[in-house]
Amino acid sequence: GDSVTQTEGLVTVTEGLPVKLNCTYQTTYLTIAFFWYVQYLNEAPQVLLKSSTDNKRTEHQGFHATLHKSSSSFHLQKSSAQLSDSALYYCALSSLTSGGNYKPTFGKGTSLVVHP
């Protein structure tokens, strides 16, 4: 089956510095889309950005990610972290199953803590 790996469970960064959250994946079937979700404390996960195109940079709310199928990666980056970015981040993909339906697969999440 498919798998998504987020290598760090916790990332800490100083406010104003760049941050990168890693995401790599393995898929068995056709993968249609890749997502980053953000979950603030005691809230629901919400989609941060989405990509379906290889080597195209996608941006939203100051974050950006580029899908690189050659390296099976979809890392999330921001040039200047803000205190309000502290949250749990999930990388996910949507792929076609053997039954002809789509199924999302989530990584285990990375907690980002931005400190002053």
Binding site: A33, A44, Y90, G99, N101
Partner: protein
């Protein structure tokens, strides 16, 4: 307003009791999901429903069953709840197309004592 609604938001049950978690959406999304979230384990897919009475097991279906009799409503049932089913449960929905990001409800925090 596009929204996934979960009821109840908080629930305390005793071990062995039956539990019903309910989820509704008003967007006519064909696909609905149930996840549980535990620290360090992320979002684990319990069941996925592709439409009315078209349900498939996710990655951790043991101990759970689901019901979907109307497109806008998806229930998660725990028969004889166990303490290790204490968790936060999220319902989500999306259009059938594979490039649609699931929209999550606010979650139900279940404690099984």
């Amino acid at each position: 307003d596009m929204k996934v609604t979960q009821m109840p938001r908080y629930l305390i049950k005793r071990m062995g009791e039956n539990v019903l978690l309910e989820c509704g959406q008003d967007m006519s999304h064909e696909t609905m999901y149930w996840y549980r979230q535990d620290p360090g384990l992320g979002l684990q897919l319990i069941y996925i429903s592709y439409d009315v009475d078209s349900n498939s097991e996710g990655d951790i279906p043991k101990g759970y069953r689901v019901s979907r009799k109307k497109r806008e409503h998806f229930s998660l049932i725990l028969d004889s709840a166990k303490t290790n089913q204490t968790s936060v449960y999220f319902c989500a929905s999306s259009l059938r197309a594979g490039d649609q990001a699931p929209l999550f409800g606010e979650g139900t925090r279940l404690s099984v004592l």
